[in-house]
């Protein structure tokens, strides 16, 4: 039994994961032989751990700064700042694209129907005794 969430799937979100050289495999095959790592996808930051009894170390951090410095040394980026700026730019573009897509889809909705659903569920929830509410 692995001692961390997501162990059954063999994957962890990056926020949970602490990469450790030799213990982490990027781009591995997920359940059903499908890749759990797809660049550009929302879950592209998923990290697959080798199945092990050892949970990830808490103090190990992904060597992002070292990678940025490597890009500069290799001539693939003019500076570490440029690497950070590029990453942030990509993040902003992605967030805007996602917000635009949500807006496009939800603009087609029957809002009155959605409000009726919410009212129906909240009417059911209101029937619970006060012990089922929180403060």
């Amino acid at each position: 039994m692995l001692g961390y969430p997501g162990a059954m799937l063999g994957v962890l979100p990056a926020g949970l994961a602490r990469a450790r050289p030799g213990k982490v495999e990027r781009g591995g095959q997920g359940p059903g032989g499908r890749s759990a790592f797809r660049p550009g996808g929302h879950l592209s930051h998923m990290i697959r751990y080798e199945r092990s009894e050892d949970p990830p170390d808490r103090d190990d951090r992904p060597p992002l700064a070292a990678y940025a410095e490597h890009l500069v040394e290799a001539g693939r980026a003019p500076s570490v700042s440029a690497v950070v700026n590029d990453a942030l730019t990509e993040r902003v573009q992605r967030d805007r694209r996602i917000a635009r897509r949500w807006k496009e889809i939800t603009a087609q909705a029957d809002l009155a129907q959605v409000k009726r659903i919410i009212a129906h569920v909240e009417a059911q929830a209101a029937q619970f005794p006060p012990s089922h509410w929180y403060r």
Binding site: P5, M46, T106
Partner: protein, 85 residues
């Protein structure tokens, strides 16, 4: 609990079936989630349910729609950002 603190309903928990519909681009489900957030209702979005929905639908569009959940303001995301012990 003191009586002067107003009790509020339990948060809405988005399980994998709801998240899978959102990942499919279901208009009604996505609007429901967005409307709840706009009303300030607390939403619980378990990371494993997001993972399961992503694996269930498994395409880039679905992953991006699930990524939109990060932009909800009232959502609670258990485990994301937590320390692994």
């Amino acid at each position: 609990m003191s009586e002067d603190v107003r009790a509020v309903p339990a948060p809405w928990v988005l399980d994998i079936s709801v998240l899978a519909e959102a990942a499919r681009g279901d208009t009604r489900t996505m609007t429901l989630v967005q409307e709840l957030d706009a009303r300030g209702r607390p939403l619980v979005i378990p990371a494993l349910a997001v993972t399961g929905a992503s694996l269930d639908i498994h395409n880039d569009e679905a992953d991006e729609l699930l990524g939109g959940l990060e932009q909800l303001e009232k959502a609670l995301r258990p485990f994301i950002g937590a320390q692994v012990t």
